[in-house]
Each structure stands twice: as C-alpha cells, then as structure tokens.
Amino acid sequence: METQIERFTISIYTENNVGLLNRISAIFQRRHVNIESISSSASEIEAVSRFTILVAITEANMKKIIGQIEKQVEVIRAFYHTDEETIYQESCLFKISSDLLFDERQIQNIVKESNARIVTVNREFFVLEKSGRRHEVDLLYRELKPFGIMQFVRSGRIAVTKEKMNITHLLDKFTQE
C-alpha cells in the first residue's frame, strides 16, 4: 500500500453554483482530511469556476477523493498534481507602520531584495504585497517580524498545470451531442 504522504494541488472545474463549495469540502471532511488551503475563482472558460485545493495525503487516497469529487453532478472535471507538475504561487499582504519605512533603512532593503511591491503608503501605514512560493513569503515574514507587523494575510495557493486541461473540449462535446 502507498502510505507516503505527499502534497497535491487539486484543480476542480465546476459550474458556478451556490452550495458547491460545501459539497466539495464535505468530501474531505468525511475522510478526516485537512484542507491546507482552498481558493475559488473564475477559470479560463466563461461561467466555469475553478477550485484550487491544497492537501497532504497519500496518492491512493488522493485518487479516491478525486473520484468522489468528479462524481458530483456539478463538477466538470477534477485533477490532482504534484508540486513539480504545476506552476504555483501564493500572495500575501503586510500592513506596517509608516514610521518604520523611514526610520529603519533595512526595511527598504528587504523590500527591494524580496521583490515585494508597495501597494499604498499613507502617514500611518504602508502595505506591502508579495507573490511567490511559500518559502519566499515565509522568509519575508521572518525578516519583517522583528520590526513589528500590524497585519499579515496570506492567500491560498493558486496554480496552473504544465499539462493541458481539456475542459473546453469536454464542454464543446456536450454542446455538440
């Protein structure tokens, strides 16, 4: 039996319907699987949504969960991929006191070196945005922490796959039939 726990990025193409998030997350909950991150958005196809879910489980379990997700009436297709098979990013925002930007020269260096972007600055605070891999976001967090972070938020993973996803083809086929 495969018992090795791996990290998988799940991509689910669905109809855009109320309650579908609940239906999908229930499949993980039933098997006592923790969702590390989840994000839902529009996809490249009009009126089709895309969920990106990150989990750490065995591949054997992953396959069973994919089967149970695909079985849902409003799910068009579901895929799972390893990190190597995807291009993925996370995004984060830091809210930091504006004084620090001027008083702590090092902060300016950190911002430059990390390729983070200053979104806004006012008298009280500035907001820093950074997109990248988890370890890059974590590194930036560790570097800024000593100076004091007023607020921090990080998004779930979003990912595109290296392989093609033939969703449009599937939908076209339905229309033709």
């Binding site: 669905t14 109809e15 109320v18 309650g19 609940n22 239906r23 229930a26 039933r30 396959k63 069973k64 089967g67 149970q68 695909e70 079985k71 849902q72 009436v73 409003e74 799910v75 068009i76 939908l171 339905f174 229309t175 039939e177």
Partner: protein
C-alpha cells in the same frame, strides 16, 4: 397577474392537463404539482406543515391525478418512497415542510444515498427574505442534506421550478441512482410563473453513464474464459440496470457460480443452479470461503462494502478481480480491480456475452455444493426444521416461502431477522428483496412495505420486522389503517435487540447492556388500528397462522415469539477474513 389566494384557487386552475403545450400562468406550488405529474408520479408520501402548505393546497386540486399518502412521520414518507422505488424501479417522491419536517427526512435520504435508490424529496422553506434569520421552522436543509444527496438545490423564484424539478428527476434516476432534495421557499410557491414543462435529457457537467470500453470487455472475457475457478459476486447494479436477463445468460453460458450481496438478492431466482447464495458477514459458507480460493472474481454492480469483504487485506488476494461498475468512484475504492469494466451493467454484460466460451466448471461447482452441505447440516437444517423447543426465525421465513410460493416481496428491517430473512427467503421475481443494506436503518421495513405495496398492488408484500425496529416507526400502522395498504406484517419477537445482543454474547462476555426490551401487547396495538392480529408462541400453531395471514385480504399482523437468545450463523466476525467464517 398579481398573487392573491382566491385567484390561485380559481382562475389559474383552468387546465388540468399537466403538460400544457402552451405556456400557462400559474403559481409556483401548482407548477410543482404539475411538474410531478409530468414526470409520471402517481403517488407521493408526505406530511404537511407551514412552509409547504401552498403545495398541499395545489395537491388538493389535483388529487384525482396525484395520490398523496399521509404518513405519520416524515421518516416514514422517505422510507415509503424508497419501498415504492425499490419494487418498481421508478423514482419515489416524498415531501415535507421546513425545519423538523425536513430534518426528519434525512435518515431516509441517507439510506437512499448509500443504497442507490432514486428519490426526489421536496421541502418547503421559509420565505426567502427570512433565510438565515433563524425564522420559525427554518433549518439549513441544503447544508444538512448535502453529504447524503446525489444533488440538492434551493429554489427562491417560481420561474426556476419546472427546470429544477426536471433536473431532479433526471439526476435521481440516471446513472447510479440516488436521492435528490429540492428546497423551495414559501414565496416561490406563492409567486406566479409562465409554466411549460420540458423533461431534462442531459446536464453538461454530469455524465451518468461512462462510455463502454471494448478493450475492457475483451480483457474481462479473456480472463473469464481462462478461469478455472471463477466466482461472480453480483449486487444491486444488476437490478438497477435491468440486467437480469443478460446476467443470467452470461453466467449460464460460462457456467459461473454466482453469489449475491444483500441488495443483489432476487435478481435471479433463488433456486437457480448457479445461485450459490449470499456473501458477507452472515452470508453463506461456500461463497465466503471460496472467495479466497477463486482464481477470477467477477464483481458486477456491487461496491465491496466492508460487510461483504471482511478484512480487506486478506480478501481474494489470490484472485484476478474484474469489476463491472457504473460509478467510476467505486473502482479501486476498496478492492483493486485488475480489469475495470465501466458502464451500465445491462450493456456491458450484453457486450460480454458473445465473447464468452461455453463452460460448466463442474468440479469447481462441486466445491460449492460440498460446503453448502456442511452449512446445511450445521445450521440451515436447524434453522428451518428445528426440533428443539423455541421457534426459530428461519422456520417462520420458511413458512412464508411455502405459502407465498416464492412470489412475495420481502421487506425486512435491520438486525437478526433481516439476515435470516435474506438468507432464507426464496425469490422467483426480481426486485423482491427490499431492505436497508448500506445504512442499516432500523424502522425501515414498515413504511417501506407500504410504499412497495402501493407501487405493486398485485404483489404480496410481507414486512419481516424485529421487535426493536418495529417500534421505531410503529406509528405507520396509522398509514396502513388509513390507506388500507394490504401489507402483511410479521413481527419476529425475541424481546431483545437481537443482533446487538448476539455481539454482546460473543464479544462482550454476555454483558447485555440496554438490549433487553420490555414490550407492549403488539396485538392490541394492531387491533387499535383495526388490523387483524395473531400471536404464535408454539410451533404447532405456526403453519395455520401463516396460512391465515397469507389468505387474508387486507393488512394483517402476525407476531411470532421466537427463542430469545438465538444467534445468526454463519458469521464473519468484524475485522476477520471471509475465509475465517464461523459456523458456531
């Protein structure tokens, strides 16, 4: 037209043709009723209440076309709809109000989900402006029912009604069937719409039937043709796809000994020479033992439930496994398939048939016969033809077989009596074994029998129930009294929760915690509902009592007091291998 109650009742009910070719302006509630009629629904089960009252008012106007059965509890409505669906193959319909009405449906819905029974449940919901406000009798039934439905949907606008109902019926009955719930806010029931009805024929994100892969059929045929010791285990998929004839042709041509899961029972007649009995925890000795000796295991429309496989890691490890299955999620879920044949069982079996080589497997089948003889001597004979004092459940089932000539549909509840009924009932017709298999819902049988009898009034329907489960839905005697549904009720009373007591005896050193029942006078309760009743306590009276019951025209109640501490054997203890099946 603006809504007001008077117009709804008069002006809008001009045409009683449910599928009006022209668009008509009617209320949402009337659209619900017309949609049901358009789907061919002739009977539905339910219970009224505040949030579903407009639908009941519409039902009142259509009572000549759509028969509503008032159950005594909403759980009874779902089980009755299940019984209706299981015996007829049609979609069962249950309706209830919001809040407690809706939550009371949940057990039946969960039962239908795990046993793949097509149901459409309709619940009323508070007015849309009140959603989420903790309004009176508001409950999030969409949230609650999500994990136990194939699909669910909330309607807040009357204009959605025909399309959503059409979709609901399509989803419930297509592919692997299952329950669907539609929650309709009260304002959507009152609102008017321009009504036309079109049946649903497809949903782009949903492919109910996988395409058949001819290569998989080839591989399956090659394995079966090469097999020296093949074993078929079939499940309800054979019945759900109407594959009985194709199935029989396949096993007869290739000479395949075939065993059934509890829900597969009755797909072919019990007496068929290739029918080697039931697999699983209380199944027959031969098919369980030989599961671990066969060289090719051919699973057809079954899902390798843990009650079937016992300890998975020692289940049929020596065998090549072929899995015929409509639901791709079942492939490799519990048992890894060497060959997966996806598709509707009828179609895949029909494609398989011409590729099979004629065979009889005489000597291999001899193994089944020899092991059957051991089980017969050790268990079956004592169950069916006991000589000791104390009635057995088995002899009661045997008498039912005798007097029904195997033509009755047996609706069983859950527990010892269920295992005995499924082991010993003799079937000659398909869709005759109606029981709660996957969920194991006590209280299923009485209401399910009502639904079954209504769907197949020409058939004898015998509900076999234990004293525990009977009291979980005993109020449905009221439904029988009111509808005169001619259900024969056989109560096998051991004054115990027998199956749990058996486990306590075998695995908990006879500590009978909360399994002994002090029971009422069941005959008096039946009589209170004007149902004729009889009680048998000695063997000498059994024959006449069963005969009287079967001959009676109308509902009948027969209580048989059976030995209090009898056990069901054979038994695969929980977690043990199928080949470690115990005879005592």
């Amino acid at each position: 037209m603006n809504f007001n109650k008077e117009t709804m009742q008069t002006e809008t009910l001009i045409s009683k043709d449910p599928i009006a070719s022209e668009c008509i302006r009617i209320s949402g509630s009337e659209a619900i009723v017309r949609s049901l009629i358009a789907e061919g629904v002739d009977v539905l089960y339910g219970y009224p209440g505040g949030a579903i009252m407009p639908v009941y008012d519409a039902l009142y106007h259509f009572k000549d076309q759509l028969h509503h059965v008032l159950t005594r509890h909403e759980q009874g409505a779902t089980h009755a709809a299940q019984g209706y669906a299981r015996i007829s193959g049609k979609v069962g319909v249950a309706i209830a109000t919001s809040g407690p009405g809706a939550t009371n449906l949940v057990t039946g819905i969960a039962d239908a989900q795990i046993d793949s029974t097509p149901l459409v449940c309709i619940t009323g919901q508070v007015t849309s402006s009140l959603l989420g406000s903790d309004a009176f009798q508001e409950t999030d039934i969409i949230g609650i029912s999500t994990p136990v439905t194939k699909w669910n949907h909330q309607i807040t606008k009357a204009s959605e009604i025909p399309e959503v109902i059409a979709k609901a019926f399509y989803i419930a009955r297509s592919g692997r069937p299952g329950p669907v719930l539609i929650d309709i806010t009260k304002d959507a029931q009152f609102e008017t719409l321009d009504f036309t009805y079109q049946k649903c024929t497809g949903i782009r994100s949903y492919s109910p039937e996988p395409q058949i892969d001819p290569l998989a059929i080839n591989k399956a045929a090659a394995l079966i043709n090469k097999a020296k010791k093949p074993l078929v285990v079939w499940g309800q998929g054979v019945i759900l796809s109407g594959a009985e004839t194709a199935f029989k042709a396949v096993i007869e041509k290739a000479g395949l000994p075939s065993a059934w899961t509890i829900l597969g029972a009755s797909a072919i007649e019990t007496s068929h020479p290739l029918n080697v009995g039931m697999v699983g925890m209380h199944g027959n000795y031969a098919p369980n033992i030989l599961t671990n000796e066969c060289d090719v295991l051919i699973a057809i429309g079954m899902r390798f439930d843990d009650r079937v496989t016992g300890h998975l890691e020692s289940y049929a490890r020596q065998a090549k496994v072929i899995h015929f299955e409509i639901d791709p999620a079942e492939i490799n879920k519990n048992v890894t398939a060497d060959v997966a044949v996806l598709g509707d069982a009828k179609k895949t079996l029909e494609a398989l048939l011409p590729m099979l080589v004629q065979n009889t497997h005489e000597s291999w089948r001899g193994r089944f016969a020899a092991l059957y003889q051991i089980e017969y001597d050790e268990i079956i004979q004592k169950d069916l033809f006991p000589t000791k004092e104390g009635l057995t459940m088995g002899e009661v089932i045997h008498k039912i077989n005798t007097f029904s000539k195997g033509d009755a549909a047996i609706v069983s509840d859950v527990g010892q009596h269920q295992m005995i009924a499924c082991r010993y009932a003799k079937f000659r017709q398909t869709k005759s074994n109606i029981t709660s298999g996957g969920l194991g819902t006590m209280g299923f049988a009485l209401p399910a029998a009502i639904g079954a009898k209504m769907a197949a009034p020409e058939r004898e329907v015998v509900a076999v129930i234990g004293d525990g489960g009977y009291q979980m839905t005993i109020q449905e005697l009221g439904t029988i009294f009111q509808t005169k549904a001619a259900v024969k009720i056989v109560l096998l009373n051991n004054n115990f929760l027998g199956m749990v007591r058996q486990w306590q005896q075998l695995f908990f050193d006879k500590r009978y915690a909360a399994t002994e029942l002090i029971n009422p006078d069941f005959g008096m309760i039946a009589n209170a509902y004007h149902i004729p009743a009889q009680k048998v306590t000695v063997r000498a009276d059994l024959d006449a009592a069963v005969m009287t019951m079967m001959a009676h025209d109308g509902p009948y109640f027969l209580e048989v007091v059976v030995a209090p501490e009898a056990n069901v054997f054979p038994m695969i203890p929980s977690g043990a291998s199928v080949s470690d099946i115990r005879l005592s």
